[in-house]
Amino acid sequence: MIEGSGIKKVYRLGLVEVAALKGVTIRIDRGEFVGIMGPSGSGKSTLLHQLGLLDTPTGGKIYIDGMDVSGLDDEERTRFRLKHLGYVFQDYALVSELNVLENVAIPAIMQGKPLAGCYASAASVLGKVGLSDRLSHLVYELSGGEQQRVSIARALVNSPSIVFADEPCANLDTENSRIVLELFRSLNRDLGQTIVMVSHEAWHREYFDRIIFIRDGLLDEDRLRQENPACTI
């Protein structure tokens, strides 16, 4: 489903080059709930951004559903993200001028679906994340946990093949983190939603089907073998 081979990312800051990813080869299958873990600065977010087409790798190839997405131009990548990928960010990343329903509906509206249909699907995913009674609230009227659930609903509204989440619980307390993780688990178990999530909280591990460990921009093979003895990459 997602295949990355030799993904490299070098950031250039003037004369200084920072190699955030030094050639990562991974494979994530349909229906997996995969965690990406590793120390701070190891390149977890960078990897997620490359896989989620939010950035262009300096080297390597990425295939999603067998399609080489590394060669897409900006316009095609935008369309691909809209149709096939969903995102959940650490800081919720909601649009403050839109209310809850509109925030969730906007990717559907961008798809060119009739407005009424967009609102119906938005309301239905908001129901799944338990926010049916908050549809017309503005974003700032919601708690952090609720905002994160709105952002999950937005990620789901176009029925993406993959949901990417970059530390979605970093700004949440344990209780709200649990709500979010349970939500992800049930989406994954019940609907077969593929989810790739970055985390550095050890206790999140119980939720993941599989963990990809990153260290210094490379896969941490030792950790991998240690933690996922059955898995060979």
Binding site: H49, L54, R81, F89, V95, E97, L138
Partner: protein, 403 residues
């Protein structure tokens, strides 16, 4: 949108306006409105000046077409015959021959005098061309058979207290008073003031008139004129009337009111127009800077938001479009408010007109000028809104999302 599809740019723009900062919105609209007002105010006043000046030229000085003596001649000879012929030309509604001569008019009461050009006409003919007979503020207009009577302008009549006079006057002449007129040929005659007229035009209101009959009794001026005024059906048709008269075989100089008047106010109007153009330009620069800053600040504050929208798959064009729609909305509101303010000013100035040397000016709104200024305003605003919107919308998603 019949199929229910909704443009995302409009969707975002509507909500940004509705849920954005009301104060900023109102201020921006106000500034654009003031720009519209500034761009059009001066030309509104100039329009009023030009209109009243043109009307006065036609109604009191030149008619629609003026016929003057041939080159190097002092008089139009055989003027009576010419007047009769002119009357028969299709489109001519009135003809009046004038005979003007220099004269010194003295107020018999106080001895104050003014040297003026005194004009004689046939009162019956005159009412077909000019409007003096409608502007009599005291006494009566001249009648055909009148002798020993004079019609004078209110400014020439003046006030007993010199301080109240706008131009040198006879120091307070009233209807029934006697003035003496000394002609160039040495003749001095006493006249009773029959009427005083007031047109608001400075030059016009300091002139004086007698009948042809009276003039002919003083000087051998029969069948002569210094000018013949012709009135047609409309001011705009003056050019055609001029050619009709020339085609008729009139050999004297034939000129329209427009050609006659050009020299006097033309330069002033040209200078006004230049000022107006400069002002319009400055206003447009102000408008574009305002729209640029408003959009720029708007967009800088929303960099993160734009990054988010792009990340979740909203097309750049839709994002830029939403900002352009917001600019269009601001401009439309500003333009409407500006036109309302302009109309308000025009209304106030109609009730309390501005006083100019040629009389009270009521503003004339030039809608074609307003249209042009609006088109220019929209053009500069869209460009000024587009530049920052496009720049931010083209930023790398992750950079923009970092805020």
């Amino acid at each position: 949108m019949g199929d229910g599809r909704y443009p995302v740019s409009l969707y975002l723009a509507v909500r940004a306006i509705r849920r954005g900062n009301r104060g900023t919105l109102a201020l921006t609209i106000l500034i654009i409105a003031l720009v519209v007002v500034l761009m059009n105010f001066l030309s509104m006043i100039i329009g009023g000046v030009v209109m009243i000046y043109n009307q006065q030229m036609i109604d009191y000085q030149y008619g629609h077409v003026t016929i003057e003596p041939k080159e190097k001649e002092l008089y139009i000879e055989n003027s009576d015959g010419l007047v009769r012929s002119l009357t028969r030309i299709p489109g001519v509604t009135g003809v009046s021959a004038h005979l003007s001569t220099g004269a010194t008019i003295t107020n018999s009461k106080n001895g104050k005098f003014q040297t003026k050009s005194l004009t004689a006409f046939d009162p019956g003919d005159e009412t077909t061309v000019t409007r003096y007979h409608l502007r009599i503020m005291e006494g009566d207009f001249l009648s055909k058979g009148d002798t020993g009577q004079i019609l004078i302008g209110s400014l020439l009549a003046g006030n007993e207290d010199e301080a109240e006079d706008k131009v040198p006057s006879l120091g307070g002449v009233r209807v029934g008073d006697m003035v003496s007129v000394a002609y160039g040929n040495g003749e001095v005659k006493s006249y009773r003031v029959k009427g005083i007229f007031e047109t608001e035009g400075v030059l016009i209101d300091s002139s004086a008139f007698i009948t042809r009959r009276e003039m002919d009794s003083v000087m051998p001026t029969e069948d002569r004129a210094t000018e013949i005024l012709v009135r047609g059906t409309s001011a705009a048709d003056a050019g055609r009337l001029k050619y009709a008269i020339m085609n008729y075989g009139v050999e004297e100089k034939v000129r329209t009111w427009n050609e006659k008047g050009k020299g006097i106010l033309g330069d002033a109007i040209a200078s006004f127009s230049l000022l107006n153009t400069i002002m319009t330009f400055v206003c447009l620069v102000v408008a574009s800077v305002v729209v640029f800053i408003v959009t720029f600040i708007n967009i800088i504050n929303r960099r993160k938001q734009i990054g988010i929208l792009k990340a979740i798959g909203i097309r750049r064009q839709a994002i830029v479009g939403s900002y352009l729609l917001q600019v269009l909305f601001l401009c439309s509101c500003g333009v409407i408010a500006g036109i309302l303010i302009l109309n308000g000013i025009a209304m106030v100035l109609t009730v309390f007109p501005l006083r100019f040397p040629m009389g009270y000016i009521t503003p004339v709104i030039d809608y074609s000028g307003i249209l042009l200024s609006i088109v220019l305003l929209f053009a500069v605003s869209l460009v000024s809104g587009y530049i920052p919107a496009w720049r931010v919308a083209n930023e790398e998603i992750l950079n923009a999302m970092r805020g």
